[in-house]
Symmetry: C2
Subunit: 186 residues, 2 copies
């Protein structure tokens, strides 16, 4: 008697990603992407951000795409709570990037995921942003991401999934290493 | 003849923020905040993030608050485009943080804002995240933020507003300086 295993399906097309990697190795100019957002002030600390198209694969892409999100500060900062604070939005970016990686790596390793949840926490001494103490940094002192994963795999294999996702995460890199950011007025 | 100036109103309560700064100078433990998000995998690279309460001022805050956002990769990554990519979400966090700062600094300096829009761009060589070249970083190579601001102020004063916002921005700091991030499995 033989049993037929259900094919692993996390909804990630690994063949397409491996094909893209191979193709871009010979065409590095196609790998140069520019991602964009616009942010428009509403009132107080409330603003709205819109994400539409991006540049990549040598051309403008997805011009019709449009995602809008709000940001604001909470009442504890005398604000109106119309959306998450930007530092919280940063934590969602980190979680979303790592989780996408977990799914992609799991697919590549033949591991079926059943559920994946990340809890993300960032410690922040707000005396920095308030300008109260020049020795306190403006950003987070430390960020912790804790995964709860139910998958058809051993605890060791699940640990390895998360480690590999971290190793290839764009947002993890953006937070743990410096990036040049220039801010100007048109 | 005298003219009565309309009071500057950008919707920011500067008195409350200055009061908070003064109060926290004598109570640094109240300034220790922990911001949080949870991220839940849906399918493929699609996940949802939720932001609820946070810890600050020595206690749990805003437990009833709830903001949910989606993240995904676009079709160019063989994905379903159910939300902005996490790197785009990172750019919205940067824009939202700097714009909130522009509004707060403008209020403090008595400058009426009429409109504020930021265009944020991040250059990204995607060979890093695809694992195609170990010399290519996973994150952005460079980020540019360009403001268009209509305000009752000189170009020099508008430049100075933006510079001061950058100087106190939590997300600007998080991107330009390294932060310790630990990722683990519960």
């Amino acid at each position: 008697m033989t049993t037929t295993a259900t094919p692993v399906d996390n909804g990630v097309n690994v063949e397409a990603l491996l094909g893209a990697r191979a193709a871009l190795q010979d065409a590095p100019e196609a790998a140069q992407f520019t991602w964009r957002a616009t942010n428009t002030w509403i009132r107080g600390t409330h603003s709205e951000s819109t994400v539409t198209g991006f540049f990549g694969l040598g051309a403008e892409q997805e011009a019709d795409r449009s995602f809008t999100t709000s940001g604001d500060h909470p009442p504890q900062f005398a604000a109106e709570n119309n959306g998450p604070t930007p530092v919280e939005t940063l934590l969602t970016a980190l979680g979303g990037c790592l989780t996408a990686g977990v799914a992609a790596v799991a697919q590549q390793r033949g591991i079926q995921l059943n559920s994946v949840t990340a809890s993300i926490e960032g410690d922040h001494d707000i005396r920095g942003i308030l300008g109260g103490d020049p020795d306190v940094r403006n950003g987070f002192n430390e960020i912790r991401v804790t995964y709860a994963i139910d998958a058809d795999a051993s605890p060791e294999d699940i640990q390895a999934l998360v480690a590999q996702s971290q190793k290839r995460s764009a947002v993890f890199d953006a937070l743990t290493n410096p990036t040049a950011v220039t801010v100007s007025v048109a």
